[in-house]
Symmetry: C2
Subunit: 217 residues, 2 copies
Amino acid sequence: MAPPAPAPRRLQRTAGRRKPAGHYHHGDLRRALVDEAVKTIRTRGVDQLTLRAIGERLGVSRTALYRHFSDKQALLAAVSTEGFRTLRLALTAAWEEHGRGRPGFEAMAGAYVRFAVTHPAHYQVMFGRFVESAAASADLQREARAAFDVLVDALVAQQKAGIVRRDEPALQARFIWAAVHGIAMLAIDGQLGGDEHGEALNAYAIERLRRAIAATP
Amino acid sequence: MAPPAPAPRRLQRTAGRRKPAGHYHHGDLRRALVDEAVKTIRTRGVDQLTLRAIGERLGVSRTALYRHFSDKQALLAAVSTEGFRTLRLALTAAWEEHGRGRPGFEAMAGAYVRFAVTHPAHYQVMFGRFVESAAASADLQREARAAFDVLVDALVAQQKAGIVRRDEPALQARFIWAAVHGIAMLAIDGQLGGDEHGEALNAYAIERLRRAIAATP
DNA sequence: ACCTGAACACCGTTCAAGT
DNA sequence: ACCTGAACACCGTTCAAGT
């Protein structure tokens, strides 16, 4: 893996702030720390994530991290924030690329579970201690909210199209989110016994959820 | 709190086993360890659970635990097993005391979420690392399965009564479990913003899930 | 059989000191 | 400003030794 390119010599001077992001040991150590944390979590699991190992792997003292994060929890919050951003982009893409209707909605559900299954440890960090992390990080709160709003918007669009019941959108969205989240958790935990079993539940769940919120009685 | 009563002097001799449970420091140290772990988890959270503190609180060496559990993970598995047993009893009670029909099923859903909300840390241990724990503990696997079977049985009964679609019961049960589990997680995480908000989602979800699996089109 | 105390190999975090 | 090394106060677990 090639070393990251050095920070550009000429920096945009933001009015009022001097040298907002100078030359770190790694160009952008904060970025590198989050990336390395994600990588470790993905391969070794959350439990195996130690600040010392991260520092060592980046060729940096084990306390260098404290220049960019107040503590380990804050680093995990950053990982979580990035996770919600990735998730939101995946949901939006699925919704828009499938015509913002019934197929788009089903694609969204699929994208959600797929994200969880392909980023299991990441997903676990996102929902493991959400309240505590969100309370300490406005960024995380904002990003999680944005992801949720994608779902709300999709439901409102379908309500207007007459294919979904006109219930309170936020309430309806929480219900759908909870159900899909539960399926994602079961899938991650391997409680669905193999891929084809997981696919079967996924298909069944989408069919049942569609019926649950369908406009026509 | 009164100290536990000393172990009875005369023990039933199980054929083939000699002194199956002799006189521990605490009569039944294993039991005391699980209870203390549950208490700590409930009041301080899972993260704050240390074997040293448990030993100290029981007036026992910090390594005494290893006579009864292979490691910390095993202790947590025991906590988890007990949690599933309590959950199963609550589900069964709700189902049976409300007439094993539609009201019974709704009472079950309520009992499930109530268990999760009133035992949040306990619930987190149960589902936090389920696969790993279940793989190492046959007891846990059995107890979790038993709880799941309560739901399957309730669905089969309703299928026979003609009020629920005749889908594959295990698949249907996984769907319902996933949805309720998701709601429980949101409720625990406080993402429902207060009790009345949580109650509203709960009521809405039960109504929608009933529709999702209803027999009549 | 059951329990102990000392020891081992780890942690996250703090802080004075370097450049 | 950013980074370091030593130190602090913790962990879970092992193991020889006690009764």
